[in-house]
Symmetry: C2
DNA sequence: GTTAGCAGTCAATTCTACCGAGTGCCAACG
DNA sequence: CGTTGGCACTCGGTAGAATTGACTGCTAAC
């Protein structure tokens, strides 16, 4: 899967003159609204530039030559290209959330309770309900969190459960199935040793395991190995996708819908996509920009969530390239800000 | 949401005579294959009854009158009704899994490792890949499992994590945020008391909590209350849905697709649907039979998974009413059997 | 540089005719 | 009486032609 970083439009994109920008904006807005190609006369009428459709036409020719607009066929109106959307997003799409929705977010965060996972999941639902797009909420991996507690619990003489608690409040379990039978006291002793060994370390720390050949030492070795072999992202299960039913309406063409759904099923893929983007603050990847073929028809809005200034996850919205960028960006921004505040504030278990 | 139990076709459905049954079977099979109405001549040709299309026609009229077939419009062929599918499933659909797929299942279960959750999730993926339908795998709730260990871990002086390990190998966490600050030793002491109190009990047991007013007792009370208030199904998170992208192709009509996806998002609903069915062994709910409006176009195949003879979950397949019942039922049956064996056999952590 | 006007293009729509799959009915047949 | 071939009829789907109308690009005039 060929991937490349999201290309921020640097000096490449020259600012359009004011009239071209207005025309482009009108086309984008109209097309987002109607899903139809937009004609020159519609633009001339809607935008507040007092020029005739003929003038708009000649400007549109220029915009098409420069790659901001495209024509599905002669004698049709224009639709924005990815580049057109990009310009729109970068220069023209400062939106504020409607007051109703703003209240909705406030109410939600005022009333939300429970485990981090539950909060994230509910946030995901909130976002998708608000925007009618598919939302992706990614929680921080606990790769850098330190271990608060390790416990080895007997299931039976051959099977034990390793329960690890991290400083970010996450808990993971691993089963151990050693090839020998261990007594209850051996397991207890191993558990004690593991605590001594691992508390305060992170999954990335190297630790000195005992090299003896007794049962305790073997258990400890196996436990440490299992723990360190675990994939932080996988184990965290910190991905919450909401509103996937919205893709059914967002795209036309069964095959596109199927492809997007299939992508969403592979949560890992979505996570990596989101994570590629979250250094840049609130950001958007449009169509080909994320470099992932099956999502050509999609745009992805991502806003990072931080805790103590360092990245702790992200919220994202996935929609068609003709998505309502203003609303989506505003929603993502507000929700990520609230989430950041939520984690900094009353609830410290994150 | 109006719901009723799946009505098993008892004495109501009179056995059709052999020829009608053959004709019905031919119509069902053909329509499942082609998604088109099936005409009398096609039936006369395909089935091994040596009668003319005219005879088939008159039989079809009867089958329609009795409610097994329907005509989309005059001068079209017939399609099966839900009742028709029901008869097919009950009397005509004994299928065996293709050897290729049988091998696929075997290979999968030979190679599968890891936590119960991972096994269930991968099973779900397997099922959906094999059948091209959406799979639902439900794990047992740990409502009846006994508690093996309880541990209270300090996050900070105001926030603690209650980690509970059950005999079925599941681990759940709850945050506690008492209104007072607790010292490390108070938390340790409360943890000890909780262990003494809860080990061996189930979530349904009543336990005697201390009534003192010190910090330890308060922590213990809060912990027990939190634990007992938790929803087993919710917390277990033991629902795994795979291949939801398949719904995009399974139904025509964007709206139907959206509705089905929306249902799948509400995992609780799917679980209750499945659980209504799993007393009956391998069973099928077709169209209106599950009594849930938005799934009128769907059929659901469910096979229970047992451990030590008692129900421990289920595997299900969700598809259109014109789904390949033979294959789907065979797949569900084989996989549930393998899963049952898997849990009984080498892996005891379930 | 802007505009009105005009000819040209092409998707979408409508209309028509027609085909053909499939039915229902009936008379004849064993 | 059940079965069958034959026949008229229905009606959705398709193919083609005609029409519409929303655009454009171009050009000449302002």
């Amino acid at each position: 899967m060929a991937r490349r970083m999201v290309p921020r439009p640097a000096a490449v994109v020259v600012d359009l003159d004011a009239r071209k920008a207005t025309i482009l904006e009108a086309v984008v807005i109209e097309h987002i609204d109607t899903a139809q190609p937009v004609g020159s006369s519609a633009v001339a009428a809607s935008a507040d530039l007092d020029v005739s459709s003929a003038t708009v036409r000649s400007e549109m020719v220029a915009l098409e030559r420069e790659g901001y607009l495209a024509q599905p066929h002669t004698s049709a109106g224009r639709i924005p290209t990815d580049k057109g959307y990009r310009y729109f997003v970068d220069h023209l799409a400062s939106g504020v959330l409607g007051t109703v929705q703003q209240q909705q977010v406030k109410d939600f965060f005022a009333g939300v309770r429970g485990e981090v996972e539950d909060v994230l999941e509910q946030t995901s639902t909130l976002l998708s309900k608000m925007t009618r797009y598919t939302s992706v909420v990614v929680g921080a991996s606990h790769a850098h969190a330190s271990i608060l507690s390790v416990q080895l619990v007997n299931l039976d003489s051959r099977h034990h459960l390793l329960v690890t608690v991290f400083s970010d409040g996450s808990v993971v379990k691993h089963s151990l199935s050693p090839s020998f039978e261990a007594t209850h006291s051996e397991v207890m002793e191993a558990s004690r040793q593991l605590n001594a060994l691992l508390i305060g370390t992170t999954l990335e720390s190297r630790v000195q395991v005992p090299s003896r050949h007794d049962h305790e030492a073997s258990l400890v070795r196996e436990a440490v190995a299992t723990l360190h072999a675990s994939q932080p992202v996988m184990d965290g299960e910190q991905v919450f996708i909401g509103g996937s039913s919205n893709v059914a309406q967002a795209f036309d063409g069964v095959e596109t819908v199927r492809q997007v759904l299939a992508i969403l099923e592979q949560e890992l893929l979505v996570v990596s996509l989101v994570q590629d983007m979250l250094n840049q603050g609130l950001s958007v990847a449009i169509g080909s920009e994320h470099g992932y073929e099956p999502l050509l028809a999609c745009a992805l809005v991502v806003a990072p969530v931080t805790i103590d200034g360092s990245p702790a996850g992200a919220v994202g919205l996935l929609g068609p390239t003709r998505m309502k960028y203003k609303e989506a960006m505003a929603a993502a921004e507000v929700v990520s800000a609230q989430l950041t505040r939520h984690f900094a504030g009353e609830d410290c278990s994150a």
